[in-house]
Amino acid sequence: MSLTVEETKSRNQALIKEVLEVYPAKTAKNRAKHLGTFEEGKDGAKSDCGVKSNVKSVPGVMTIRGCAYAGSKGVVWGPIKDMIHISHGPVGCGQYSWAARRNYYIGTTGIDSFVTMQFTSDFQEKDIVFGGDKKLEKIMDEIEVLFPLNKGITVQSECPIGLIGDDIEAVSKKKSKEYGGKTIVPVRCEGFRGVSQSLGHHIANDTIRDFVFDKLDPNRSFQGTPYDVAIIGDYNIGGDAWSSRILLEEMGLRVIAQWSGDGSIAELENTPKAKLNVLHCYRSMNYISRHMEEKYGIPWVEYNFFGPSKIEASLREIASHFDDKIKEGAERVIAKYRALTEAVIAKYRPRLEGKTVMLFVGGLRPRHVIGAYEDLGMNVVGTGYEFGHNDDYERTNHYVKDGTLIYDDVTGYEFEKFVEKIQPDLVGSGIKEKYVFQKMGVPFRQMHSWDYSGPYHGYDGFGIFARDMDMAINNPVWGLTKAPWK
């Protein structure tokens, strides 16, 4: 059944041609640029996998993408636990994203932590007509009374804010002054900006620069050590940042901040003192990492904590920025967990060997998880990014095999057709896709929320990842989808 690379490539070409036929001419031309097959060696190392990315989604096609607000409130700012994030505008955006992303944290919710709460200005018609600045001021006053232990406020703008000419910057500034220099951050992440979540990440990164870093008290005391690192771009979904942190600490590093899962404003403020920033989700936090490099001279390194091969390489890569003590620490950690990873592989690989996977996710996952699948003997035969840029696709070509089908900002229609034709053993994508494929009888795992499982990062996470992929694929229910009398 298995095709040669050349056969796969021509199958993919035919498949792409077939799906494009459904579109009106103009849309077909547009979508053609986002669909391709990875050709090894073509265009050298700079290859973008042959697809265009980070441009507007076509209207009416059922894109899977979200918006800038989701990128800022949902991803970057929302998990900072001791601040209150106001979904500023009408009730909907905040309601649908309320506690949906599983950013785990330790704290007393409603008293000193606020992540799984929905604070909204619940705009009414009069706020649209007359503006919401007065209301926003009052909201901040009410927050100060009712939630006195909050360590700061962010204003997460929804679509209407930028359209009605509100001055949330002025309100924030005024209130910050009134509350003795309290951190109050206006974020212009209205959903119509940009083409996806991605611009929201960028805007949110910039506000951390402007409203946290640039306002740092120069006399802020912080006892640094030569081994201080910050975890950047881990949202602690199902505890991912924790199962990563433990490894960094075991190798002798001191993690002074988590961005932003289980993070706190104090940790954001600590970060300019880091010796190295370790960056997991490049897409959502490369901006602030670059800024810290320029401004504070902090180098940054990307790492990948999915699956033992990548973890091992990443631990060494991180250690290479430090002295022998840390290098030895990395080796010690690798050795310590070897028995565990071997046991996981021994248990699950025979059950998963040769199984094929198609992915469609955001951030770093369309490439980062490939190694973990390969550690289990599985092959990723198709992948794509919800809101990737060129540099994501460039990074992807180190991961994918020759002939992998690539789909950028895939539409509901395309994804369904691709899966129908390729018949992978597993699809990994989001909640909106999950039930489509399960109805088709294709095993599925949500790869944003970890399907309510996790963590998947680190050695502890790998065992869970392996178990979950096994339980999806080898679920007896897939043998029941056809009625026996048919």
Binding site: P24, T27, V58, P59, G60, M62, T63, R65, G66, C67, A70, G89, P90, V91, G92, C93, Q95, Y96, Y104, I106, T108, G110, I111, D112, T116, Q118, F119, T120, D122, Q124, E125, K135, K138, I139, E142, L146, C159, G191, F192, G238, G239, I246, D262, I265, A266, L340, A343, G412, Y413, I431, K434, Y435, K439, M440, G441, I464, R467, V477, T481, K482
Partner: protein, 512 residues
């Protein structure tokens, strides 16, 4: 080393292992600049006080943990109940990703809906081109029988003219001239998801009925309103109508599209009210709505066509179902059959068997306006005592209606009604005036955790329990389901609070 291949530890247990506990304590101590534990405790205690409650209720601008969503969600809910209908939300695309996720999390089903993906340039120039291209693409790709257009905030704020845009798109050939593209403006800064349902329903009916001559017939129309139990409820209603021999049209029947089989095929559309039936529904004798506050404008419009209109309030329990069936019987002239009378008797029997456990128990409840009326009536029937009834999207009119219902029963004397309040208000109510049980949606679990009030999950959305939407809460069968859910929690609580050996376990009874 914590992980273990024989018994894989995931987040539930992994982070309770000592190395993680220690790691997280150190994180807090060394890097978070956290408030001292005593301070946190002090503030926590204060938030339980009457003083805090008063300040909390003095809020004028801030909303915390509301129990309502925005209009377009209701628009999508109504639209998918029509045969082959693709909801199309004009505006920015992020909203649509949210509606689809929200429904998928509740129904555990695919939720198909497209956006016109308006971006910054559309904010400046308007979204006409997005409408033109969007309709053309959606029509070509997803081959719908109808596209129902609604709007997000963005399109509303910039004032896009849906009617004109759709007409232009048709002229440009996006969809055939005679293709059905009903529309409704659904601004999120007015009302809530139930308003969006109403506007969309009215928009679809207007699209098919406007300018048509009505020749009354003997059929009746039935509208469910925005309802998390739509799958179970509509099936139950159809069964009851079948038993009565009623000739009916359900307007927006989404019971199939949100309960499709896993048999190897993905059905983007399934079931639904046919467009023919929707057109013909103009001639019906009457329209019955199960949710007044979800269909206010729709019912006004329907009444103006000359139909009789009956508005109920999410009927749950014996008397409410009696009323529903008697209205149907009166309008259609078909008597309530013996089979339903027997079901009624069985529900009464079940209540008689169990009411000793419910009688006098105090309840707090929150949710959509009509659901609150339905559940309150049932609680009163059970001899339970509602104490706090709250609705974020219920207004003055609703409050008056609930109060009238409470006044009609001795069990409603000690109850207060809270319109336009949120779950942070409810938190204060539960601390200052505690009750035995709380009824609400999934988000009530935070109240349960904070205040210790056991939560009975009835409402929308329910994300953290599976398959309840497949069960009806309407009809006598539905009443039985609600009764059982309430009882299950009561009995679970009895067992949970009587299981300490040599202390409380004398009441750990085997027969209750």
């Amino acid at each position: 080393m914590t992980q273990n291949t024989a018994n894989v530890l995931d987040h539930f247990n992994l982070f309770r292992e000592p190395e993680y506990v220690e790691m997280l304590e150190n994180k807090k101590k060394n890097f978070e600049d956290a408030h001292p534990v005593e301070k946190v405790e002090e503030i926590r205690d204060w938030t339980k006080s009457w003083e805090y409650r008063e300040q909390n209720f003095a809020r004028e601008a801030l909303t915390v943990n509301p129990a309502k969503a925005c209009q377009p969600l209701g628009a999508v809910f109504a639209a998918v109940g029509f045969e082959g209908t693709l909801p199309f939300v004009h505006g920015s695309q992020g909203c649509v990703a949210y509606y689809r996720s929200h429904f998928s999390r509740h129904f555990k089903e695919p939720s198909s809906c497209v956006s016109s993906s308006m971006t910054e340039d559309a904010a400046v120039f308007g979204g006409l081109n997005n409408m033109i291209d969007g309709l053309a693409n959606a029509y070509a790709m997803y081959k719908p029988k109808m596209i129902a257009v609604s709007t997000t905030c963005m399109a509303e704020v910039i004032g896009d003219d849906l009617k004109g845009f759709i007409a232009t798109a048709k002229l440009k050939g996006s969809v055939p001239e005679d293709f059905d593209v009903p529309h409704a403006h659904t601004p999120a800064f007015v009302g809530s998801h139930v308003t969006g349902y109403d506007n969309t329903m009215r928009g679809i009916l207007t699209h098919f009925w406007e300018g048509k001559e009505r020749t009354p017939n003997e059929k009746i129309n039935f509208i469910g309103g925005f309802d998390g139990y739509t799958v179970g409820n509509l099936r139950e209603v159809k069964r009851m109508f079948g038993l009565m021999g009623v000739d009916y049209t359900i307007l927006s029947d989404n019971s199939d599209v949100w309960d499709t089989p896993a048999d190897g095929e993905f059905r983007m559309y399934d079931g639904g009210t046919t467009l023919e039936d929707t057109k013909a529904a103009l001639h019906a004798k009457a329209t019955i709505s199960m949710q007044e506050f979800s269909t206010e404008k729709t019912l006004t419009y329907t009444a103006n066509t000359g139909q009789e209109v009956v508005a109920l309030n999410h009927p749950v329990g014996v008397a409410a179902t009696d009323k529903f069936l008697m209205e149907v019987a009166r309008i259609t002239g078909k008597p309530v059959p013996l089979a339903l009378e027997k079901e009624r008797g069985r529900l009464v029997d079940a209540i008689a068997d169990s009411s000793a456990h419910i009688h006098g128990k105090k309840f707090a409840l929150y949710g959509d306006p009509d659901l609150m009326l339905g559940l309150t009536a049932f609680l009163l029937e059970l001899g339970a005592e509602p104490v706090h009834i709250l609705s974020t999207n219920g207004g003055k009119e609703w409050e008056i209606k609930v109060q009238a219902l409470l006044d009609s029963s001795p069990f409603g004397k000690a109850c207060h009604v809270y319109a336009n309040k949120d779950l942070w208000h409810m938190r204060s109510l539960l601390f200052t005036e505690p009750v035995d049980f709380l009824i609400g949606n999934t988000y009530g679990k935070y109240l349960e955790r904070d205040t210790g009030t056991p939560l009975i999950r009835i409402g929308f959305p329910i994300f953290d329990r599976h398959h309840y939407h497949r069960y009806p809460v309407w009809g006598y069968q539905g009443g039985l389901n609600v009764l059982v859910w309430i009882l299950d929690k009561i009995f679970d609580e009895m067992d949970r609070t009587t299981n300490v050996p040599a202390k409380t376990d004398f009441s750990f009874d085997i027969i209750r």
